[in-house]
């Protein structure tokens, strides 16, 4: 190979390897301060404690309120994005005429491209007042800041991702399978639910896990609309602080490097990173288990 060619290949390799450097950077950036943090705070107390007040004089480092808040907002996001995302995917893949699909898919892409700070504002000034107005369930209506509105809006934000990944998986199901089912007298609904969805299950499950991981990592919506105060409860009408919201508000607080408050950012960040990492791993597993190969 010519000398110049060799130089180009080396340069291109460096571009590719930068991604590995990024991952190593993330792990190092999280691990070193997190290890220092766990020298000062017992890991068991951190994971099981129910009181989170790291920046107070009488500091408590129980991360459970943040984890539970993350799970509550994620749950309400999934209530929206899983059924409606899957429904939209089936509609686009099996029901919509070609021309409708060509218009509707870009509209969904636009929905996916709206900044999360905008969704947060929408949750705060539109969805929460709406919920308070129409509240008919027992118990108090949602407070001005609450996990429910944040979670539901997060679900709308993730819906296009779930729909588009699922739709890709359904489009990849060979036409012959559908025709076979139609020839046997199946209706459109039966073909969708008993042939296409099972055949595309690996991609559909992957889209769900991707949606969960987006919801767990989402920051601005919960920071703006969910109230940003640690509160160990499952009641979504109450204000809460998720892991991401804590990290962001601690970041805004501009804490001095090396202080225990500064290190909590990395401890919570590491917890978040580990959770999303294992979810991505689980998704890869699930995809492999359900994969049906057609060729």
């Amino acid at each position: 190979m010519r000398w110049g060619e060799r130089f180009v290949v080396a340069l291109l390799f460096v571009c590719g390897a930068l991604s590995v450097a990024t991952t190593v950077g993330i792990v190092v950036a999280l691990a070193i301060p997190a290890i220092e943090f766990f020298r000062a705070v017992d890991l068991f107390d951190f994971l099981t404690g129910t009181n989170w007040s790291p920046l107070f004089a009488d500091a408590h480092f129980g991360v459970l309120p943040l984890v539970v808040a993350t799970l509550v907002t994620t749950f309400w996001a999934l209530v929206v994005c899983i059924p409606f995302g899957l429904g939209a995917a089936i509609y686009l893949s099996e029901y919509a005429p070609d021309r409708a699909r060509r218009v509707l898919k870009p509209v969904l892409e636009i929905l996916a491209g709206i900044p999360t700070v905008v969704y947060g504002f929408f949750a705060l000034v539109f969805v929460t007042p709406l919920l308070r107005d129409i509240w008919f369930l027992p118990g108090d209506p949602p407070s001005t800041f609450n996990a429910l509105a944040a979670g539901l809006v997060m679900g709308v934000m993730i819906l296009p991702t779930v729909a588009s990944v699922s739709e890709d998986a359904m489009s990849a199901v060979p036409r012959g399978l559908r025709e076979g089912a139609y020839a046997l007298g199946a209706t459109r609904m039966q073909v969708s639910t008993r042939v296409v969805v099972p055949a595309a299950l690996s991609g559909i499950v992957a889209s769900f896990v991707l949606g969960i991981s987006r919801a767990v990592g989402e920051t601005m919506i919960v920071l703006i609309a969910a109230g940003n105060q640690p509160n160990l409860t499952l009641d979504p009408t109450k204000p809460m602080q998720t892991m991401t919201a804590f990290i962001a508000s601690a970041g805004i607080g501009d804490l001095p490097t090396g202080s225990i408050g500064y290190k909590t950012i990395f401890a919570v960040g590491a917890t978040l990173f580990v959770m999303t990492f294992f979810m991505n791993l689980a998704s890869a597993r699930l995809v492999r288990r359900f994969r049906e190969a057609y060729e």
Partner: protein
Amino acid sequence: MSSVGVTSAEADAVRDAVAARLFAGRSRRLRWRERVFAALLFVSLAIGIVSLATLLVTMIVRGAPRLDLRLIENFPSSTPSLAGAQSAIFGTIWIISIVALTVVPVGIGAAIYLEEYADRSRWWNRLIELNIQNLAAVPSIVYGILGLAFFARGPLGLGPTVLAAALTLSLLVLPIVTIAGREAIRAVPDSIRQASLALGATKWQTIRRQVLPAAVPGIATGSILALSRAIGEAAPLTMLGALTFVQFNPDGPLSAFTALPIQIFAWISRPQEEFRTLAAAAIVVLLALLLMMNAAAIWIRDRSRQRW
């Protein structure tokens, strides 16, 4: 495609006719279930579209009283009627320019390496590939922590500057550019490469003069979408100590800054209703910018869909 000599439209028509015939003999209950199912699917999709429309209308209606020149002529102020977003708009322009300068060449380089040079039987190439997939799923706030630890403080110690923000956002959107670039390069047929190599071009000459020009539309679409993602990101910037009360425009990469999404967040956090109006007006500006970028990306993709 298995059906020989039948277009998909014809196949659809035949299928629908057969289905209609079979359908006619079905029980009433089944017919109702079919209809309800189809309606539910349509509602699922409609929820997304109605939400988008509601969101846009809400922002425009709420922001309308402040959608005027004060927004782009004035600097942040504690008096709502005097406040504007000029420093935020300039900050966003600075950041995005630097992101574009770094992320587009590096992303394309990584895409070329993975598609044209990488030998997949080597473990390190598989590692790079897997790694890029994983990075795309890492929450953006985690990139903010990375930027805080390495760029703003720590080794580079750039402080809360335009450059620290741009580098952080570059790493965040790099996987998007790389993945889009790979797809664009993969779509260029091998016959083009072989023809070029047969004429005596080296591998790099082939890539630079044949493959890359053919892949430009796909790469451009991916890059625009990546930049529009970077423009809207607020979470990583909150970690870097972006200021929200910046009374000057950035004068270089090492200047302190604010950015549009951060400024919007700051206004939302104020209790006064006037600042929320201002936030809605700034959101309209941000959304208009992003919609134009998205439209450009979709337009490039549709116009240049090349058939080989």
